[in-house]
């Protein structure tokens, strides 16, 4: 009884902490950038489903050679496949998107790899 009760307590403690553990370390500019990114950029630069393809490349802090000034120019003027956002966003908003991109780790949009099924443990004889 004692052991099972302790296990249950530890599991619950972990679960209840998990709900409050997702702390947000972004500053105000990065938070604005995240909101604008999710609203306007995500449609092409994130996967609509876990396995679907994307129209645009994955974006991260390493995009545009990791240069924030180049990111701002591309967001403003676009590329041959992407419209420029200079008529939609002002310079502060464009800078906020670039600042948020500098917080994005590469590989976040990688396709999940297939897991090798683990062999079930042989029951003790």
């Amino acid at each position: 009884m004692k052991r099972s009760a302790w296990i249950a307590l530890m599991l619950l403690a972990g679960a209840s902490q998990g709900g409050f553990a997702a702390e947000d370390h972004l500053n105000e500019q990065q938070k604005l950038g995240r909101r604008l990114f999710e609203q306007s950029c995500g449609v092409c630069h994130t996967r609509p489903t876990l396995v679907a393809g994307m129209y645009g490349p994955e974006l991260s802090k390493e995009s545009s050679g990791g240069r924030e000034d180049v990111m701002r120019v591309i967001i403003s003027n676009g590329t041959p496949r992407m419209p420029g956002f200079k008529y939609t966003f002002n310079s502060d908003q464009i800078a906020a998107i670039a600042a948020y991109m500098k917080t994005m780790p590469p590989g976040a949009q990688d396709l999940p790899t297939a897991r090798t099924p683990t062999k079930a443990a042989t029951p003790a004889q």
């Binding site: 099972s4 009760a5 209840s16 306007s40 129209y55 496949r81 419209p83 420029g84 956002f85």
Partner: protein, 229 residues
Amino acid sequence: MKNPRNFAAASLIALAAALGATPFVISAAHADALLTGTITSTAGEKMGGVTVSAKAERSPITTSVFTDEAGNYYFPPLPNGKYRVWAQALTYQAANGNAELHKTTRRDFVLQPIKNQEDWIRQLPGDELLAALPGDTPEDYRMKTQVRKNCTGCHSASYPLQHRFDEEGWNKILDLMKHVNVLGVYFGPDHKATPNIEFHQKELAAYLARARGPGESSIEVQAAPAPVR
């Protein structure tokens, strides 16, 4: 845990631990604080139909009520605690405040009208924005119908129309959208393009650039859909 009694005892301890780990569950029992107030415009008019919302600190729950014809709002009894309170109405800027509830508390708000048309357009719901698109000439009416048929089947008109692009930019958007299904999945350039978008693409891009482009907008925003006063 072979003994069912042991399992029951462990479950009871776990339940007690869960309740102890979530203080707001306990505080929800003390739901005797009332939050009330009045919403007025900067012109001093009492505003009916305004949405007023309250959210307790660390709680995932937002409670919203509407003001009556006299501009007054009354929340049902809420658990004691610190709250963020805000009021919002179409064509007005949202007003924000805080309240610490442990007894009946008043929070009055004065709503400022939005003066910038761009901010106003972005606040409009999709149906209002679609209705505001130009459609007086046969050509414009045809394009307005195309926007409704090709775009609003999958997303609100306010999603694309929150953006402003020149004609080239809208063409790039349509290049994508004609290869996307209702779930937003892109099928690649070899996928057969949606014929309706492909056929109207050039005209549609020009129409959208006139409505939501760099120049003066052809959108005709009707009288403010303000709340009942």
